[in-house]
Amino acid sequence: EAIPQTRRADGPITHWQCSQRRNRQIRYKDLHVFQLEHPTKVIEWTGDKNICVAGYTGSRSEILELLLPLKLYAGENQGLCAERDFKVQHGGFSEEPIESLIHISGTRCVVTSGSSSSTLQIWDIGGDDSDVIKRTGVINLKSTSVKGCKIAPGLTDEPAVLHGSCISEVQLTEIATGRVLYTVAKESSDSVSGLQFVNACVFLICASDGTLFMGDTRDPSTCHYPLEDSKSGLHWAFGLRSDSSQSEPSGCTVARLSSSGHMLLSDLRNLQSPFCQTQLNVQHDASKNDFLNVSWAPVLDRCLSVSGFDGTVHIYNTINWSTEGQSPQPVFSHRGHEMSDEAKYSGSPPVVTTHSWHQSRPKTILSVATDGSLHVWDWVDKITDR
């Protein structure tokens, strides 16, 4: 049968979806497209069905706790559930653009760092009696950083936050008292790209130049693992995969991604030598270092995702990766952010600012971009999902 001329009158997304359908390839099991009033560069889970986002453009920013569309959870009765919208459950205002936002597990507390103040802000998201997110305190920092101080939640019973914008300033602060529980005794002014606890005591810091630092709050010294072949001008981000939040180092893999698409996978037991190095087929643009993101899928085995180079999110299966092979092909690429109406009419195409995997649904991902778009999508693996 003749394939009719498609008219683009209805916009790029419908066209793109229709062309996929005609090719008998079902790419998405589900796709929901939303538009936030202000773009965010954070997505943080505060519950099974809740995420927090926060503005970073403009001096005053909104922090929102959103409830995911109930249709995603309707399961068997999905046909009868009409709820496909996000609900704003709580909202608050911050006096500065928000660079990072973390949730303290088991509490209704989130901590944010911004680009213009020398404090971390502590917030109470609130419960059923009020929908206002209130600021409950601050943690004073030694300095202000335009990129915002990097923060990570502590994994002990007593809520604490690990923070620092450069290596020598990294410390663990108890939220309730402001007491400093641990400081990194390293004289290094290298800027921090990311940090995260592996378990209650062991933590990792990734510097912007790709060097990894591993520390233990029971031990004042930290070990550091610089890159063998460090190229200047590149910015590095990292993603930690662990089986559970209380893992031993043996179960953990660290992925490091450079702004030119270079990828290193290391075992936590041997951070000195990565067990895999590869080059992803992406475009390098130095101005977009801010949004580099590499994340491991929480459910799927050895599956990771990458974003921040442009308006796409790429998903890779690292099982077959080898150091000598060619550039690996993604098992799926989400191009939705590039194809929106907003992208069509604006001067510069949108860039994905961050993305996050759903905690339990194996293939559901949330992604956000510089144009304020927020996508929730459930992708289909061409090979395994026939």
Binding site: T14, G79, D129
Partner: protein
Amino acid sequence: MPDIKVTPLGAGQDVGRSCILVSIGGKNIMLDCGMHMGYNDDRRFPDFSYITQNGRLTEFLDCVIISHFHLDHCGALPYMSEMVGYDGPIYMTHPTKAICPILLEDFRKITVDKKGETNFFTSQMIKDCMKKVVPLNLHQTVQVDEELEIKAYYAGHVLGAAMVQIKVGSESVVYTGDYNMTPDRHLGAAWIDKCRPDLLISESTYATTIRDSKRCRERDFLKKVHETVERGGKVLIPVFALGRAQELCILLETFWERMNLKAPIYFSTGLTEKANHYYKLFITWTNQKIRKTFVQRNMFEFKHIKAFDRSYADNPGPMVIMPGYCVQGTVGHKILNGQKKLEMEGRATLDVKLQVEYMSFSAHADAKGIMQLIRMAEPRNMLLVHGEAKKMEFLKDKIEQEFSISCYMPANGETTSIVTNPSVPVDISLNLLKREMALGGPLPDAKRPRTMHGTLIMKDNSLRLVSPEQALKELGLSEHQLRFTCRVQLHDPHSDNDTLGRIYTHLKSVLKTYSIQHVPDGTVIVESIVIKVTSSAEEPNLKVILLSWSYQVNKCDELNLN
């Protein structure tokens, strides 16, 4: 203090119906008169006892305004006008006036004939109610009486939906009804000018929602339809002909054309012909694209969509998609609640062999839409109805901070008073203006008020500012001039003239900035104060200084007469 009072009728937190009372400038207006679809007893009607305990409502209301034909906005209208009693004007747009009675009759039929209820309005009552309707055109000011005027604006949402501006003197309120800030395939988006009302009243049911994009919903809908058709099944869409149906028909028709599909689509409704007729009649209420295409062909005459024939019902496999609201008591409503067996009157039970999908295509404004509307209209105050206060505090803060206006969220049954600052227009006479201009000084400036003197005449509902002389003339009064005198005694051996001369010299030295004259006829004049010196023959050294002045407050206070 002058204020506007707003009371949403209804009890507790129910959001199923709209009926809002507004008092402005001494006028009482009822906005919408909806039926609550969730109740089967009197609770479905608004509680009019707030207006009056018993008796008719006519003398208590200046007018009733209906925003659109959805039953939760007009369902209780015949009950209010014919069973409680109201004979005043009921305002609504032309499409609303045409479609309301159809919906009301349909609703009455189901409630009374099918469900057997008794305390309900009759067909005749619907007809009598509609006789009281005065139709509105968009952007046209209608004088309800000498002081009250109303104007309708396009609201999107459904055919004929309007937002209404109510104005008494310089105070005004805008009520949005249900509206939509994004255009869809057959309706445009809501629009209002920068009318700067004292108060903007908006529904907030969807205020905390971030809506899925229209494209995604449409894509999912089309996907389901296409999958069914590909399998050889049929698509059946029972939906009220004048709601979202037109939207879906255009969507399906366009998709069928593009994908070159041949399978027939059936449109199940008894109102098809009437629906098309109304859309043709009210073509100006649709969006621009439809109006443009209308010249070549009627967008509401579909190639692929046909009327349904009952014989198709028993085939297994067809997918039923029901966008929008299925009134309680209907088969549709039961199926959407998951019922698998239906008891049909006069027949045995039917098995539901259909695959059922429920989708919402309704067009409402979310938080972003509300902010957009506020930006358009620039109200001085904001009022949100039908939201839970606990869940709206963030939106209230957001509105208050972004626009520096107060945001109110009354519970149903609660009255909110909004203080207004109405300007009182006063005509000023030309003579008075000229006189003030002649006095010189800086020109009148809105930011720096200048004091002036005049007489305010309030007569025949008008206010005028005129000069005192003119006022006296108009009122037929003669002018009296007041002069005050005061006598001061002092001992001075000099002659009267010399004493006067010494007074003159002294005053000249201490009152340097004032005009002081020594007139030859024996008086000293300081500004407008006249000073004379006299003495009696018996006591020539006891001088009596006579001071005389007219009533000019500011000058006298400044002079310190010692």
